[in-house]
């Protein structure tokens, strides 16, 4: 472009614009190549034989017929990999089970063959003899005295517990009881606070199994090169942590493990842990000396990928007549399933909601996580917060009703403000909670509708209308659950002023590539199209601790801005030198170096970049930046400012309840989110809408039915995702609290939109019908039973003392 044609360039901002996701055209055209589409020369196809018994000893495994099948290259059982090490949060999980199966998903053998069909045929030829053990089907049963043990301590020949070195993992050392983990947190004096309360309510809530239902099922390709270096094509959300774990696992140097992530067809937390299938695929590749690919069937995805954590939760809450909250006391029983994954650690998040969503002087929180023979739970968008919020926000309505206070006023009275430090040590530097409450209430006409619905409860006609609200607090500036919560960026400008942004942050469909590009372009005055993002190869990208905790925009965003600002400084210095002006006066706009005050162009950026490259004293613009948020690890009592910022939201749900059938139709969701600042408005709206629908599924339709250890509905016919005609009208607005630490003021939002829906729906059903339902999901039959007084109220007395 001729400089003379464009005398002045006005400042423009990309922040808050609606920007199409960079990967949208490929995905919409069906051209994205997922792991399912990848063809690796010489690849073998793998399948896993899973247990046909819920809980049993394995008497024998006969793989001889499978090994003899033409086209079969490798058949492995636990006996073939004596070096296997346990995986998982509690190191209680051996990938291949040799002596005992503890759930129906358990892996007994694996086959690598020329085709999937041959591998499947080989599985059918494997003979396994079992000796059944009594099934522990519920966490209540698991903590009863004398309950069968899921991980019994192995006995020596003399009948005494085997002598094992200290710190032997649970997978080898066992557990003398079925308790996998405990969490105990307290602040304030609960007994005294209860004594000072005018009103106390106590209820038990039952939260069910759901699963992520990623459109892309789990899959991995593993191969070793001639030097024994491992290359994995993996859908993981935490490539750097996995690289280290796989290296430890194989007892090789981590530099010899490389993880490449193909485009990932959905994560939502499901790909945050190492799973047996990944390790087994590595074993097969090692044994076959060929690349091995393993992709789940949809049924397998339902049976053997993690679930959301099911929880039995008793909440006791109190307040004074003037509406001041006094205390909360919480006991939860978490069904761990047979092995421990991240689901067991959801109390980290749950206790934050109980202790800090509202100002509460005293809070006492206890979780017992127990082994059963059920599927095991992993991390899932919201990480325990849906469960906690379901209980808390119903109690907020119940307390308000008991003291005769408007439920909105009751919430406003107890809501957090900026500047508060909670009993758990969370410091709210930006907080738009009250504005979320009032905005969502006003936009939905909450007060009037709430009153009208109450008045119309007994009007004729089977369909009753209801409105309910719920709010949430979630980390919005990362979460320091590891020693590091950082992310690195490498930024390069080429000789045409195109940018390569190399970031540790993984894209799992959440739109990180787009928002990171936007933040970089905001600094460099370039269009989004100028950026290529490289984010999927541990051999290239810098360190990051993974996609979780709604952290990517905040952490990777700050990291990208840091690298871009360094690049900008270099560019302006070079321009100043070349054109003999003061770099402090210069800025980057519209692809030009300009005089900041006037907008007068100094030089086209592409031209400057070419000059910097094509010279015998070439000076390239390549920068790096590492961002570590100013958050701290929690202490042993779970106290500390674990996130650099906190996100807030209020969602109002409107329903129609057909009292003849129990069908709950969600008609409208009004949501107001404190996101710090809107960066990509289109991406943000998409994230919220998708999250609302996920919350709707959790509330109304989705239910992984597990009976006596058996998953009864491992298919989309009977596991009911929300379909298009059920999606409610949505009114989504944003509070911009401009967080001081956030990238351009923004805070994380990835998990937030799913969290409130079930709680708000429960309050809406109560507003419509006068019936309060304490268990999820609100399927037609469950609601109908509750309306007819036939719901079984969860009971907690049996396990409270456990």
């Amino acid at each position: 472009m001729n400089v003379a044609e464009k005398p002045v360039i006005a400042p423009e901002s990309l922040i808050g614009q609606r920007i199409q996701k960079k990967d949208a055209p490929e995905k919409a055209a069906g051209k994205t190549r997922y792991i399912q589409d990848m063809i690796v020369p010489g690849v073998l196809h793998a399948k896993i034989l899973r247990s046909s018994r819920v809980h049993a000893k394995i008497k024998s495994i006969d793989t001889s017929a499978a090994k003899a099948l033409p086209g079969v290259h490798v058949v492995l059982t636990a006996a073939d990999v004596p070096d296997q090490q346990p995986i998982g949060v509690a190191r209680d999980h051996l990938p291949l089970k040799g002596e005992r199966v503890r759930s129906l998903r358990d892996e007994i053998a694996a086959v690598a063959a020329d085709s999937e069909e041959i591998a499947e045929a080989a599985l059918r030829l494997i003979r396994v003899e079992y000796e059944d053990l009594p099934i522990v089907a519920t966490p209540e049963d698991a903590i009863k005295p004398g309950a069968p043990l899921i991980h019994p301590v192995p006995l020596a020949a003399d009948g005494q517990p085997k002598a094992l070195p200290p710190k032997t993992p649970i997978a080898f050392a066992g557990k003398p009881d079925n308790i996998a983990m405990r969490f105990d947190y307290t602040h304030g004096d609960v007994a005294q606070a209860e004594a000072e309360s005018d009103v106390v309510v106590e209820d038990t809530f039952q939260l069910h199994y759901v699963t992520h239902c990623c459109m892309g099922v789990s899959g991995v390709i593993a191969e070793f090169d001639a030097s024994g270096n491992l290359l994995m094509y993996s859908n993981t959300q935490v490539p750097f942590l996995h690289k280290r774990e796989f290296a430890e696992y194989l007892n090789i140097d981590p530099s010899r493990v490389r993880i490449i992530q193909p485009p990932i067809g959905g994560g939502f937390g499901s790909k945050l842990d190492i799973y047996p299938f990944e390790v087994i695929c590595i074993f097969l590749a090692r044994a076959a000396k060929r690349p091995v690919k393993m992709v789940f069937t949809r049924e397998e995805e339902f049976l053997a990928s993690p679930t959301r954590q099911p929880v039995l939760l008793t909440l006791r809450s109190g307040c004074k007549k003037d509406g001041t909250l006094t205390f909360r006391q919480v006991h939860t029983l978490h069904d761990n399933g047979a092995y421990t994954s991240w689901g067991a650690t959801t109390p980290f998040v749950m206790m934050q909601t109980f202790s800090s969503l509202y100002r509460v002087p005293a809070c006492d929180y206890h979780t017992t996580v127990v082994y059963t023979n059920n599927p095991y739970a992993g991390s899932f968008r919201g990480y325990g917060n849906l469960q906690a919020t379901f209980a808390i926000e119903q109690h907020m309505d119940m307390l308000a009703e008991k003291i005769g206070m408007d439920p909105l006023n009751f919430r406003i009275k107890n809501a957090q403000d900026a500047g508060e430090v909670t009993g758990q040590g969370m410091s709210f530097k930006s907080c738009g909670f009250k504005e979320c409450l009032t905005t969502a209430a006003e936009r939905s006409d909450y007060r009037k509708k709430h009153a009208d619905n109450l008045a119309n409860r007994d009007a004729p006609g089977p369909v009753k209308r209801g409105i309910g609200m719920a709010s949430m607090l979630h980390v919005g500036g990362g979460a320091k659950i590891y020693p590091s919560d950082g992310c690195g960026t490498i930024l390069k400008l080429d000789d045409f002023a195109n940018v390569t942004l190399i970031t540790g942050a993984s894209e799992i469909g959440q739109g990180s590539e787009t928002v990171l590009s936007q933040l970089v372009c905001e600094e460099l005055g370039l269009p989004i199209s100028a950026v290529t993002v490289v984010n999927n190869d541990t051999a290239i990208t810098p360190w990051d601790v993974g996609v979780h905790a709604s952290r990517t925009t905040f952490i990777a965003g700050n990291s990208a801005i840091g690298a871009a600002r360094k690049a900008k400084a270099k560019i302006l210095a070079a321009a100043a030198k070349k054109h003999g002006c003061d770099e402090a006066m210069l800025d980057l706009r519209g692809g030009f170096v300009v005089v900041a005050e006037t907008g007068e162009p100094v030089v086209e950026l592409a031209r400057l970049m070419r000059n910097l490259h094509f010279s015998d004293k070439a000076e390239l613009v390549m920068t790096t930046f590492y961002y570590e948020p100013p958050s701290v690890h929690q202490d042993k009592g779970f106290k500390g400012d674990v996130s650099a910022a906190y996100a807030w939201a209020t969602q109002v749900v409107e329903v129609e309840v057909d009292t003849d059938t129990g069908i709950v139709k969600m008609t409208k969701v009004t949501g107001t989110h404190d996101v710090g600042r809107v960066l990509n408005r289109l991406g943000l709206e998409g994230q919220i809408e998708g999250g609302v629908v996920m919350g709707q599924g959790y509330a109304l339709t989705e239910n992984l039915i597990v009976e006596n250890g058996v998953t009864r509905n491992p298919n989309f016919r009977d596991y009911k995702l929300v379909t298009a005609p059920e999606i409610p009208e949505m009114d989504i607005t944003f509070v911009e609290s401009m967080d001081g630490e956030g990238p351009q003021g923004a805070k994380g939002v990835g998990e937030a939109p799913s969290i409130c829906i079930a709680a708000a729906a429960a309050n809406a059903i109560y507003n419509a019908t006068g019936v309060r339902i304490f268990g999820l999901p609100f399927t037609p039959e469950a609601v109908y039973r509750a309306l007819r007084g036939k719901a079984e109220k969860p009971n907690w007395q049996a396990w409270k003392s456990a």
């Binding site: 069909e117 045929a121 089977p462 003849d660 059938t661 069908i663 339709t701 039915i705 009864r712 509905n713 016919r717 009977d718 009911k720 929300v722 379909t723 298009a724 005609p725 059920e726 399927t779 037609p780 039959e781 109908y784 039973r785 007819r788």
Partner: protein
């Protein structure tokens, strides 16, 4: 793995019946039930797989004297759009509007839905209350023979019918409605699309001066086959459709069905739905 030894795609009915007569044939029409059932191992392929999609004359809706004749290969989507169905059997079109998804409606056929003989088959209940007959053709002795049977008598169990192995269901015949004819269909699923019936209800009859005659009531998903409900019909037949009659009929409906507990619903809830929705449908008929 598959045991298919031969694939046949006959062009004429005569040819298709000849292949059937040889025995051991799996019939493929839309494939929307057959494919998932064979994949799941619930149905085994016979040695001959016969695709009847190209057989001439098995598709389309025509008027045949005092009957509406619907060819077995007519797809659910075609029924949904067909003007003759809209005019003479709108309740069938309504059922088609609650049938699975567009993709399945485009492939799935009426004959397939009938022969699959699911107790929850979406078209079966409305067809039964319309006094539909099925038309079965065979070629036992070298020439084509046809017989007819009321659809209400056609089903013998889940996935089982009175169709002989050498017979092909070629069409259904629905008598044209008499003056005053009313028909209603209700399907309960937990969501508005892509769901298997928890229960379904069909009600038909002739409504004159507030009184229902020629009453037909049928229920789906409450028994091993779709069933007529004789006691509910008796409670309504010839009676003025007032609140008392409606309540009595709804009570009779709840008492005469004998559903099971499964993962979709409990027997108790199914009976409640049968009662409540039979009542709601009859209220609508009375108010119309």
């Amino acid at each position: 793995m598959t045991a298919i030894e031969r694939y046949a795609a006959p062009q004429s009915l005569d040819e298709a019946l000849g292949i059937l007569q040889q025995g051991e044939v799996t019939i493929l029409a839309g494939g929307t039930d057959l494919m998932p059932q064979t994949k799941a191992g619930r149905v085994a392929f016979k040695p001959t797989l016969m695709n009847i999609g190209r057989v001439a004359g098995l598709k389309g809706v025509t008027l045949d004297g005092q009957h509406l004749r619907i060819g077995a290969l007519t797809t659910i989507s075609e029924l949904l759009r067909d003007p003759l169905v809209a005019q003479h059997a709108p309740v069938l079109a309504e059922a088609c509007d609650h049938f699975a998804s567009d993709q399945i409606r485009n492939a799935g056929t009426l004959g397939g839905n009938i022969n699959n003989a699911s107790p929850a088959g979406d078209t079966l209940v409305p067809l039964i209350v319309l006094d539909t007959e099925v038309e079965l053709a065979s070629k036992p002795n070298g020439s084509v023979a046809t017989r007819r049977m009321p659809l209400a008598e056609f089903f013998t169990g889940p996935g089982r019918t009175k169709r002989n192995a050498n017979e092909l269901l070629t069409a259904v015949r629905i008598p044209l409605p008499k003056p005053g004819h009313v028909a209603r269909f209700y399907k309960f699923g937990t969501r508005p699309a892509l769901d298997i019936s928890t229960i379904s209800i069909g009600i038909a009859g002739v409504m004159r001066d507030g009184t229902l005659t020629n009453t037909r009531v049928a229920f789906g998903a409450v028994a091993p086959t779709p069933v007529r409900a004789p006691r509910t019909e008796a409670a309504l037949e010839g009676r003025r459709l007032d609140a008392g009659a409606i309540e009595a009929a709804a009570d009779a409906a709840r008492d005469e069905v004998n559903p099971i507990d499964d993962i979709r619903a409990s027997a108790w809830y199914r009976k409640e739905l049968i009662h409540n929705m039979t009542k709601r449908m009859l209220d609508h008929v009375a108010q119309a």
